[in-house]
């Protein structure tokens, strides 16, 4: 089986609050917030996807140009059949509404939160999108 290619487009910060694994949230619902790094998250994903996937993580930078990030994101949007074209003027806004964005073999399967390992594995195997988690606030 050919390896699946997973691309992760990060927003400005990574925070697993309100993810399905940590259950943390910034509202007053009472659960705790746990922040993890992208490296820690990738390790979790590799526990179920090692050997069948390659990962590439794209981060935006305040100090350098984001041409590669933008080009790769536009490729994924186009392959996913979306009209939106991202550029430097709308990048921050788009990411504020959608990041993190996860694509498998060039097609978007997840937005707005980091799935847990099982969700990502299922999405990789089936090609189905991961539903946006309903937040409590």
């Amino acid at each position: 089986m050919d390896k699946k290619y997973i691309q992760i487009f990060e927003g400005k910060q990574i925070d697993s609050s309100c993810s399905s694994t940590s259950g943390g949230c910034s509202c007053s619902c009472g659960t705790s917030t746990t922040a993890v790094t992208i490296d820690e998250l990738l390790k979790k994903y590799l526990t179920v996807l090692d050997g069948i996937t390659n990962f590439n993580v794209y981060k935006i930078s305040d100090k350098q140009d984001n041409d590669e990030f933008i080009n790769k994101l536009n490729e994924v949007l186009h392959k996913s059949g979306e009209k939106l074209i991202v550029d430097n003027t709308n990048l921050e806004f788009v990411l504020s509404q959608s990041a993190p964005i996860i694509a498998v073999d060039g097609k978007i399967i997840s937005i707005k939160n980091y799935p847990d390992e099982k969700q990502l594995y299922d999405a990789v195997m089936t090609g189905n999108k991961i539903p946006v988690k309903k937040s409590c606030c």
Binding site: E82, L84, N90, K112, P131, K133, K134
Partner: protein, 184 residues
Amino acid sequence: MIDQNTNTVKSILNNIFDSVGIADKESFKNAPDKYHPKNILEGFESVIVYAQGNKNSSEQDMGSFSDLWGSLAAQNEVVKFLESLGYKSIVISGNSRSVSLVQMGILAGIGELSPVNSLVIKGLGLAASLAAIITEAPLIPDEEITGVCIKCMKCLNVCPATEVAYQRNPEKCGCGKCRNICPV
């Protein structure tokens, strides 16, 4: 020209959103300073407000659009169009706390205030996602509307954040019960 620009903006947004309205700067003359659009864009002339119904959605975040990419593309198209005419424009997303999207929606004529302080929109009830574009472009405003909320108080009866009508505690908001119960 203002006619044409208004029609173009509405035409783009009506492809994606269920309700679109415009308020002009004059409408905000009594708006509280804390939530005034001039805090976002000092030279604003108009506020374009748009809503998408989501009564049947069980999976999406409260307040987010079901077709995220389509809605972003439409908003982007409007911003680019207005910028091409020389007018700066800023998109205000549904989770903004700097302005009151509900108040903007009322002034733009797309809905009415509900007893739980959210926006009741004809045909969409309380189950709508809102966003807005604040722009320097002068556009033709819409009239405010009345008679959308039928004052049944069903939302008030189920809302844990509102003990007294029209005095919701925003920190307790978020269960979504009002969305499902509004008969409008």
